[in-house]
């Protein structure tokens, strides 16, 4: 009997071990630096966000595409924390042979530095950018109860307008802060832990307005429960054709979140080319295009160099705007 119970426990523990192994696959084999046969082993794709968010979903979609195009496996590993800085640090110090690649967010490099202490700033110089992926637009929405329906209607506000944001150091916070400052509307930021709680507060009339990602807000906009005011992209969003951009409404505010593939600095060019080629092939598939549409993502499939140029430009522009209007994103900046 003793023997049997022990083997039961062993089986249970064994099953537990096997299941855990599925959770965080860490394969040591690296990618080859010889041309033509990349990858030679499993390629880790750390993502700086938890399971379920858009960063995670995009990484998983790209991972599927790479795996179909190149063969081999590209396990996505959730390494959330510090706005993505933890995952970035891991990629930066990984061997530069293509065995670790990561889809990263523009906000970590262009916006987060405005809110966090100097020593926590992640620099794009630690990475080679391989390929642009897609853009995720922000939209300013108002609750039904607030009565706001356009930028002009803020002039009638009595007292401070409250705006929910998806957190400190996010593009949503920057977009909203800039809007109210440029428009000279007295306003108060209410930071929430992500888009879902901010949307909940807006639906419940707890805050007057909020800046959210289009995908988070779109269904409630369509059903008329919240009122879209402006979008912050360079042009109107395909999914909300009737909503003007901030520029069209007379505000010089343009903030967007976009994502791109990065590898550790110094990764061989042929490996980078193989990844970029496979990603471009993935972009052509209808499955990937449907994915973008379902998640309200606008393709931004530009080259790595263009991404870096855009990042540098955005970073400077945001820093200038924040300084000009005396906006404080985080006390620690």
């Amino acid at each position: 009997m003793r023997k049997q119970t022990f083997s039961l426990a062993a089986v249970a523990a064994g099953a537990a071990l096997a299941l855990t192994a599925c959770g965080g696959v860490q394969t040591t084999a690296g990618g080859g630096s010889d041309s033509g046969d990349y990858p030679t082993g499993a390629v880790n794709m750390p993502v700086g966000a938890s399971a379920g968010g858009s960063s995670d979903l995009i990484s998983r979609q790209i991972s599927r595409g790479l795996s179909d195009e190149l063969g081999g496996s590209f396990p996505v590993i959730n390494r959330e924390g510090a706005n993505g800085a933890l995952a970035a640090a891991e990629v930066a110090k990984a061997p530069a042979d293509g065995s670790t690649i990561s889809v990263q967010n523009a906000s970590l490099f262009a916006i987060t530095p405005l809110a966090v202490p100097e020593d926590q700033v992640t620099s794009i110089d630690d990475f080679d950018v391989v390929q642009g992926v897609s853009r995720d637009d922000y939209v300013l929405v108002a609750s039904k109860g607030s009565g706001f329906d356009s930028i002009d209607s803020f002039a009638d506000a009595d007292g401070k307008v409250t705006y929910g944001t998806t957190g400190v150091g996010t593009g949503a916070q920057l977009a909203c802060a800039l809007t109210f400052n440029v428009n000279k509307t007295p306003a108060e930021a209410i930071p929430f832990d992500g888009g879902a709680p901010a949307l909940t507060a807006l639906l419940g009339d707890q805050v007057d307005t909020a800046c959210l990602q289009v995908g988070e807000a779109i269904e409630n906009i369509r059903s008329g429960k919240i009122v879209p005011i402006v979008v912050f992209g360079p042009e109107r969003v395909e999914f909300l054709p009737d909503v003007p951009t901030a520029q069209e409404s007379g505000l010089d505010v343009e903030v967007a979140q976009y994502r791109f593939m990065t590898v550790p600095k110094g990764t061989p060019q042929d490996v980078q080319d193989a990844i970029a080629g496979a990603m471009q092939a993935t972009f052509e598939t209808s499955e990937y295009q449907d994915f973008n549409e379902q998640n309200n993502l606008t393709p931004m499939e530009i080259s790595g160099d263009e991404v870096v140029a855009q990042l540098e430009e955005d970073k400077q522009r945001y820093a200038d705007l924040v300084e000009e209007y005396g906006i404080d994103l985080g006390d620690a900046s």
């Binding site: 855990t20 965080g24 379920g52 510090a82």
Partner: protein, 514 residues
């Protein structure tokens, strides 16, 4: 409610293919629930590609939903047998569940938990079916001030659940609140107690604290004990609860289910508050509250019913207003997007087959889980017969793996071991980890909700009292504090003659003060 659509939903579920997917989902869910750390959200992420390749995407959604509520059943097993709660909402189950296991009644505890889970979930699905959109509106009325008031009530309840010294419980709770402040301040991004480490930037994960204080602490404590006395495996007399125990647990399951359903609708902290409130409620209505923490069957039945009911009602915000209440719901949101459906107010009208298919699959899934639990309880309790010399390292391994899988961080493993040492020292000195862990969970909720409220009120705190819901909760808080005091004052005046009666009343009275 469209009744024919509701019935058609059963037609969807009972298709053999969908039944198989439902079965796979709940079994996988139960297994990953047993292992702390690898939660349902991560599992759903790994299995998400199935939605693309399944012959029928509705079946895949049914399976993913099954993983989520199946995991709630599995989580109880480690809480009761090994004292490692995998989720914040099963911390209170540990108190009486582990005590029962030590008395050789692990089977009773697990049996009652399975039955309570089934009833709680079923009541909650019925609530979801009939009242879904209505309660969703209630969740929207819950703004930051209401969460702040609710969390304050929670901290007060934390103080009542301990079974030892009140001062020690309060001290542990205070340390828990302090631990909750670690990390980057979510309002100003200023670093607090991070000591320059990026690993602490997002604060400490609940699982790290709970596994360390409960699981590792227990292992260390047992190592010391082991040299004192030979291991006598607890006699496992009854695998299944007796009729008398079922009768005792019945009302507790009912109350727990209702509390769980109502609080579970609240995104963010709903499930923890539900299990905590359910446990505290049982302790208050019990004739002899001192039994709690020493193996009271209601102490397992009520919170387990509550956390399953809460897990089920957390589907409501997703399905009716398109808000994912937790990470698992966010994965389900993503899965629905793949099918081409954006969860939101239109879902029930646009895709009634999907809505009712998924909702009705939960009736069947929970039934499967109950039937599965019966033989599994018998197997799992045998783990307790394994010698500590073998069980302890296995438990240690499970906790280490569990903590590692949360965010693939080795740092977290070391942090857990530190908490393990703290847990051991606490046990040696008579402090309980329960209040500390629960206060830790509620701490960030209370702080961020309070600060958010003050921003919304523009610094005017009277808003807490004038808003109807938060005002009511705060009145309740005052009542909970004042009631025992008034009762004591009243008793002292009315019964000066019978000192004997007063003495016999002493124990429960002290207890109700906690």
């Amino acid at each position: 409610m469209d009744f024919s659509a509701f019935l058609d939903g059963f037609g969807v579920v009972t298709q053999p293919g969908n039944l198989v997917y439902c079965l796979i989902g709940v079994v996988v869910g139960m297994l990953i629930g047993v292992l702390p750390g690898l939660g349902p959200a991560a599992t759903m992420a790994i299995l998400l590609p199935i939605v693309y390749s399944a012959h029928d995407p509705v079946a895949a959604i049914i399976m993913l939903a099954g993983i989520y509520y199946g995991a709630q059943y599995g989580g109880t097993i480690t809480s009761v047998l090994l004292r490692i709660p995998g989720e914040a909402s099963s911390v209170v189950t540990v108190f009486d569940g582990f005590a029962l296991a030590k008395q050789g009644k692990a089977g009773t505890a697990l049996g009652i938990a399975a039955i309570g889970s089934f009833i709680g979930a079923t009541i909650s699905i019925i609530g979801l079916t009939l009242l879904g959109p209505l309660v969703a509106e209630f969740a929207l009325d819950f703004g930051p001030p209401e969460y702040a008031a609710l969390a304050l009530l929670g901290v007060l309840l934390v103080a009542t659940i301990g079974n030892g010294n009140t001062v020690k419980a309060l001290a542990a709770a205070a340390i828990g609140l302090l631990l909750a402040t670690v990390g980057s301040d979510s309002f100003t991004s200023a670093d607090r107690f991070t000591f320059g480490s990026l690993n602490l930037e997002d604060g400490i994960d609940f699982v790290v604290v709970a596994m360390g204080l409960f699981g590792v602490g227990e292992i260390l404590y047992n190592l010391e004990e082991r040299h004192g006395k030979p291991h006598v495996p607890a006699a496992i007399a009854n695998i299944w609860p007796s009729r008398k125990e079922l009768k005792e647990a019945g009302p507790a399951i009912g109350r727990g289910s209702v509390i769980g359903f109502v609080l579970g609708v609240l995104p963010g902290g709903g499930a923890v508050m539900a299990s905590l409130a359910a446990y505290a409620a049982e302790k208050r209505v019990a004739k002899d509250p001192s039994r709690f923490g020493r193996g009271a069957i209601e102490g397992v039945a009520s919170p387990e019913s509550a956390n399953n009911a809460a897990a089920t009602s957390s589907f409501i915000p997703l399905l009716t207003i398109g808000i994912p209440a937790n990470a698992s719901m966010a994965m389900l949101y993503a899965a629905l997007l793949v099918v081409g459906v954006t969860p939101g107010p239109q879902l029930i009208d646009e895709r009634p087959d999907l809505f009712w298919g998924v909702v009705n699959s939960m009736y069947i899934g929970n039934l499967i889980l109950l039937l599965l639990s019966i033989p599994l309880v018998g197997i799992f309790v045998r783990i307790l017969r394994v010698r500590p010399a073998i069980l302890a390292p296995i438990t240690a391994l499970i906790t280490i793996l569990g903590v590692y899988t949360i965010r693939n961080s080795v740092f977290d493993i070391f942090l857990m071991i530190v908490f393990g040492v703290i847990g051991y020292l606490m046990k040696k000195t008579g402090f309980e980890p329960g209040p500390m862990v629960l206060a830790f969970v509620l701490g960030s909720l209370i702080e961020s909700s309070f600060r958010r409220s003050m921003l919304i009120f523009d610094g005017d705190a009277t808003g807490f009292v004038t808003r109807p819901i938060s005002g009511t909760i705060l009145a309740f808080v005052v009542l909970v504090i004042a009631f025992p005091l008034i009762k004591r004052a009243f008793r002292r005046r009315s019964t000066p003659a019978t000192a004997e009666a007063a003495a016999s009343e002493d124990a429960p009275r002290e207890d109700s003060l906690r």
